[in-house]
């Protein structure tokens, strides 16, 4: 479904250019939930944005649903692929009502019966019609993220890119949103690409994953390798160890940061 070959992303030009991602290759099957894991600066969010066509400086070969991606994304791509962002407050326009936020994609893709689609979209993410004309600042963080999910799904895409969708949420709210995401995936047979720094979230949500560091691929794993704590690469082991909670002795084995 998604094929990434030799992906490179450079910010800036010439000598002041910074290579955020270098020589990255992986494949995502249809209907799969694929994770991208790494620490800050690993380039995982950059990869997602490169696929989404939101940033310049992209090299390499990207193929999505049989279409090789050029410098601009086609209408077909924009219908097929949607994204949920990390910051629930920042990803909704502060001056638009929920109705406007949800109607816009439907309008752009010339769908009919927009009003009912909006109501149905709200219902599917567990919000009732009273939310329809509220502004983002009038709803909670978890509710905003649900609206973001509704917005991504209203035009019925097949692929959803998820950029740390629950990092900014409380733990109890995170559980609800993750459950919602899994439910929607099953209902609609979606393909997910999930970026997260939280190994537990990835372990819960994904079937396969790649681990990235400093813009490069460290390793590709099946989810069982993560769940059983049997990765091949020592960096992944280090991440797993650190995710387990604080252990004074284990800290000694971690590489010192400069």
């Amino acid at each position: 479904m998604i094929s990434v070959q030799g992906l490179g992303v450079t910010f800036g030009h010439g000598s002041s250019g910074f290579q955020a991602v270098a020589d990255l290759s992986f494949e995502v099957e249809r209907g799969e939930s694929f994770g991208l894991v790494g620490e800050s600066g690993s380039g995982k969010t950059t990869v997602l944005r490169a696929i989404a066509g939101l940033i310049p400086g992209v090299s390499g070969r990207l193929t999505v649903a049989g279409e090789t991606l050029g410098p601009k994304r086609s209408k077909r791509f924009r219908h097929l692929v949607q994204m949920v962002f990390q910051d629930p407050f920042g990803s909704l326009h502060p001056r638009h009502t929920v109705d406007q936020i949800l109607s816009e994609p439907a309008r752009i893709h010339r769908m009919n019966d927009i009003k009912n689609r909006v109501l149905r979209a709200l219902e599917e993410v567990g919000l009732d019609s009273s939310f329809r004309f509220r502004y983002p600042h009038q709803v909670s963080g978890g509710q905003r993220q649900r609206i973001a999910v509704a917005r991504a799904l209203i035009i019925e895409p097949e692929i959803v890119l998820l950029d740390e969708p629950t990092s900014a949420l409380d733990v109890s709210v995170q559980a609800e949103v993750l459950n919602l995401l899994n439910h929607m995936k099953r209902e609609r047979g979606l393909t997910y690409m999930l970026v997260s720094h939280d190994l537990a979230v990835v372990s819960h949500m994904c079937d396969r994953l790649v681990v990235m560091q400093h813009g490069r691929l460290v390793e590709t794993l099946a989810i069982e390798q993560l769940r059983n704590f049997t990765p091949a690469h020592p960096y992944t082991s280090q991440l797993l160890r650190a995710s387990e909670g604080y252990d004074r002795a284990a800290v000694e084995t971690l590489e010192d940061d400069l």
């Binding site: 609800e176 769940r227 704590f229 940061d257």
Partner: protein, 281 residues
């Protein structure tokens, strides 16, 4: 705890008057703190940060602080004069916050800021201050203290920034450190390293630490005791190693809705909020 606690809080209330009515951020929190690592865990709006700030008298603007007892080493913090509070703040009780980007002055080099922190609380020559600053940088395990000394805050990484904050807070050798989400903005491996430094500070220098966080697992593995807060109240207090036997339904709910690396079900358990938890206990 067999010795007298260094900090005693009883029935702490923090209220903010707003045009829409009073917001009661902290409602009747009580705890004692010894020479230990105490974790305060809660979600957003639980009042955990306000509790930490109330101890230091750092409640913003119109907030009103009320308590039956707020005693630090024999000093009554409720009625302490501004002068006394200033002498305590930073000197005997220090605070580390989440993002070093916002706590460090961006236009002054790191070394000079640490020196300043020293000179605020001690009369000393500049040379002595510089020496102490270097010592502290080494104590937080920074490998090239000379290079970091002359660097500006934006030139160092997040993890290093937090270590520098810890170094600054350590200089006056405080009795208590209040850390408000000190590692939340850091990568997981860096988090561990920073926590190790705090850990060593507590064990080697006999300090007390209040560790405020939303991360239940982290607090359970790092601290000695844990306070769980919800809607401004303490729901439960437990020994950290005993946390998984928690009894209060809120704590159990929180533990159960956490995703785990090794477990995988179809869906995560969802916290069912009982409105009774918000009632005044």
């Amino acid at each position: 705890m067999n010795e007298t606690p260094i900090l005693s809080i009883e029935d702490l209330h923090v209220t903010f008057p707003t045009p829409k009515g009073d917001v009661r951020a902290v409602r009747g929190v009580s705890f004692d703190l010894g020479r230990e690592k105490l974790g305060i865990v809660g979600e957003s709006g639980s009042g955990k940060s306000q509790t930490g700030r109330a101890i230091l008298g750092l409640i913003a603007g119109r907030g009103i602080v009320h308590a039956k007892r707020m005693e630090f080493d024999g000093i009554d913090l409720r009625n302490a004069s501004a002068q006394t509070l200033r002498a305590i703040r930073g000197n005997r009780i220090s605070m580390i916050m989440q993002d070093p980007k916002y706590s460090l002055n961006p236009v002054i080099t790191v070394g000079r800021q640490i020196e300043e922190a020293y000179l605020v609380h001690t009369r000393a020559a500049k040379a002595e201050a510089r020496e102490r600053a270097m010592e502290m940088l080494k104590a937080v395990r920074i490998r090239n203290p000379e290079r970091v000394y002359d660097a500006y805050p934006h030139e160092v990484s997040g993890g290093m920034g937090q270590r520098i904050m810890i170094a600054m807070m350590m200089i006056p050798e405080p009795d208590i450190i209040i850390a408000d989400e000190p590692t939340s903005a850091l990568d997981v491996t860096v988090q561990m390293q920073v926590l190790a430094i705090l850990d060593d500070m507590v064990t080697q220098r006999g300090m007390a630490l209040i560790f405020i966080s939303h991360d239940l697992n982290l607090v359970a593995s790092f601290c000695d005791r844990v306070l769980i807060m919800y809607a401004g109240q303490v729901m439960e207090v437990r020994e950290a190693r005993d946390l998984h036997n928690a009894e209060h339904p809120y704590t159990r709910g929180l533990l159960e809705c956490l995703p785990r690396i090794d477990a995988h079900g179809e869906s995560l358990a969802v916290l069912q909020r009982d409105p009774a938890w918000a009632d005044l206990q």
